[in-house]
């Protein structure tokens, strides 16, 4: 954890000590002095607290780094305005620990928003708990379509891109620009993978492409070399790989070794430093991401520099999501002038809340599924050595010169339109 509680993890079964409860506290003018319970309850728009609940993992730490930077920036701005802003970070992984963390952050620390969603389990627990306690939940990572559809909730908003957005970005570029029209899908045999497959197939076929095969890979499958050969036999010009973690890494190793005649792409949960200079694993394929340290336009250089100065690391997608989630939480209160979760949700889904993610366009949330509209980037291995390993090849959606549609309409090219989304929240009256 940042600022003095490094490496501490709060096991679910252990009593919550004061130190763990506070976690990382970032405040105006430095670390906030710990205050008594009575004062903690007196949260107003002048003194704002946001919670961060992530597991004690590399993923959790990556989100926390970004959130910490966002909180430090919000705290500095708050100080200019004569106010305070704090981020209270807690490590929790399973449902019981997450629910307990939410309860105590709300009751004892007076947080009005919580950032998390490092994995499907914590996403589900946070979404439920946020709804129960009436606080905003900003999902920084979970893209799983099944989990999201199940937790289509008023207080849950997604900073993390959806699987549908990643898929649309890939289809727009790989079919429309790179001419890869014959796709073979490789994924696990899970409901989520099936949902992604069906959505990707629709995106592909809508652009004139063709699904030439689907290969389901069991968790225990060892012979991924055979999968590579099977894809070749389909005549595909591109393999869409929806595998996570170790399975994905092993598949790409076999792909890299075989050097087959098809390209590789796919989606996977954003991972720490995945497309950085020091990333491990085979450097092959074209992949979508929310952020990359090589971005430079629209103030991206300045943001990447601030992150690097703070942590000595390249800013990755999880860092960006954590940073942006805090920014949304801070700015939403400034503009909506409330800390009430439902009122904040109403403001954010109204379209009046547009934010600067250093992506060059006003970013806003879709009212029907609470998904953040945002550009995505495609990265691939850099052409030469010494170029940081990966390079950004495209920003999606593509916008033709002279195209003058409103930003939200352009950004709605990525992801589920209102008519096709399974999450359709009714507008608040």
């Amino acid at each position: 954890m940042v600022d003095g509680v490094s490496g501490q993890q709060a096991p679910a079964s252990r009593a919550w000590t004061r130190r763990e409860a506070l976690g990382a506290v970032v405040a105006a003018g430095g670390l906030a002095a710990l205050r008594g319970p009575a004062e903690l309850l007196a949260i107003t728009e002048q003194d704002l607290r946001v919670g961060l609940i992530v597991p004690g993992s590399a993923v959790g730490e990556a989100i926390e780094r970004g959130a910490t930077l966002g909180a430090e920036e919000a705290a500095r701005t708050a100080e200019l305005l004569g106010r305070t802003f704090e981020l209270v970070a807690v490590r929790a992984a399973d449902r019981e620990a997450v629910e307990d963390a939410v309860r105590r952050l709300v009751a004892e620390r007076g947080v009005y928003a919580i950032i998390g969603g490092a994995d499907e389990a914590s996403f589900a627990a946070l979404s439920d708990a946020a709804e129960r306690h009436g606080v905003l939940f900003l999902n920084a990572r979970c893209a799983d379509p099944v989990a999201r559809d199940k937790h289509c909730s008023r207080h849950t908003l997604h900073v993390a891109a959806s699987a549908a957005m990643y898929v649309d970005a890939l289809a727009q570029w790989l079919v429309g620009e790179a001419g890869r029209r014959r796709w073979c899908f490789v994924s696990a045999a899970t409901p989520s993978a099936t949902a992604v497959y069906e959505r990707a197939r629709r995106a592909l076929e809508a652009r004139g492409g063709e699904a030439v095969g689907r290969i389901e890979v069991d968790a225990g499958t060892d012979d991924l070399a055979a999968v590579v050969r099977e894809i070749e036999r389909t005549g595909a010009d591109l393999a869409f790989v929806d595998l996570a973690g170790e399975a994905r890494r092993r598949f790409l190793e076999h792909y890299s070794a075989a050097a087959p005649g098809f390209e590789v792409t796919g989606i996977a949960p954003e991972a720490p430093g995945e497309f950085g200079a020091g990333a491990s694993g085979p450097r092959v394929g074209t992949w979508p991401t929310m952020w990359h340290h090589a971005l430079s336009r629209f103030g991206a250089t300045q943001l990447n520099d601030r992150y690097h100065s703070r942590f000595g690391l390249e800013m990755d997608a999880l860092g960006w999501a954590g940073w942006f989630a805090v920014k949304v939480a801070w700015e939403a209160v400034n503009r909506a002038r409330t800390t009430t979760g439902s009122e904040l949700a109403r403001f954010l889904e109204s379209g009046r809340g547009a934010f600067d993610g250093h992506k060059g366009r006003p970013l806003s949330f879709r009212p029907w599924d609470h998904q953040l509209r945002q550009p995505l980037y495609l990265v691939r291995p850099a052409a030469g050595p010494g170029e940081g390993g990966w390079e950004v090849v495209a920003e999606l959606p593509r916008v033709a010169r002279g195209q003058t549609a409103a930003s939200h309409e352009l950004l709605d090219q990525l992801g589920d339109a209102e008519g096709e989304s399974r999450c359709r929240l009714e507008p608040l009256s």
């Binding site: 920036e73 500095r76 300045q302 100065s309 600067d356 060059g360 409103a406």
Partner: protein
Amino acid sequence: MKGSRYWRLWIGLALAGVLPPPANVSAQNAPLAYVSNERSGTVTIINTATDKVVGTIEVGPGPRGIQVSPDGKRVYVALSDLAREVETDADAIAEIDVASGKITRRIRAGSDPEQFAVSPDGLKLFASNEDAGTASIIALDAEEVIATLTVGIEPEGVAISPDGRWVYVTAETSNTVSVIDTHANRVVASFLVDVRPRAAAFSPDGKRAYVTSEISGTVSVVDTETHQVIETILLEDGEAKPVGVVVSPDGKRVYVANGHANSVSVIDAETHKVIATIRVGRRPWGLAITPDGKKLYTANGVSNDVSVIDTSTNRVIATVKVDGEGPWGVAIANPSGGQLTQTR
């Protein structure tokens, strides 16, 4: 000088890294527009009577913000290199003598100076230091930074009130404007504006300030007595990308360069209504207006040109190609001296 003798000298100076002064600037009897070219490290000079390029000055890396001294005799241009978050020798504000077209000195102004304002008495300069998140106050005579003030995150636009009392510093990431009291040399207030504020300009009477917000596509109208936003003007349904802003000398019009929207919005300063939208070159950032208010100049960063607008018709009457890359800011000076208008 004429003929081959002149050109031999010109080439010699160019090879020495010093392009000649504009074609006898002191002989120009019209105000001159100075355009900073960020990517080529030059300043292009345009005669506003003929709208022809009359000279180019090499100034060094990354010229962006550009302003004129109150007496009109000097042009200041902010320079910064690629070494971010550290102050290097390349980070400076260059002073150009209008009469000779030569750089007379380089003034330290903190790291990565981008935009700045010159006090009406010509004694102080206020610069934003984007990477450091500060504003520097520089005594011009002593060439000394006399105060470094913490402002918002990613400070950018700097504007000074006509009476010299207040300096507004916009900050892109924090969406704030910091108010510097120039009597005390400290920040006395900060207030929120819309998303990604880029530039500010005061009305000639000093009662209002106008702050552009690029991501929101808006202009905030500020009451400078209370330092509070009293109205927010939406440009092009929020799809404008407002950056530079300038107020006409009579205070009746506010002109906003809309960056990636490739346009200039004309706002009635009384009603706060947009009365015209003018298509210009690609990515206009800085803009400046002639002292008589008849012509408006936009620095178009992608098309490498300057659009000249007739303010009586709100039409582009000329497009001047600069002999440089990435026009960023523009300021208008008068070789014969006198207070002239400022830029973004």
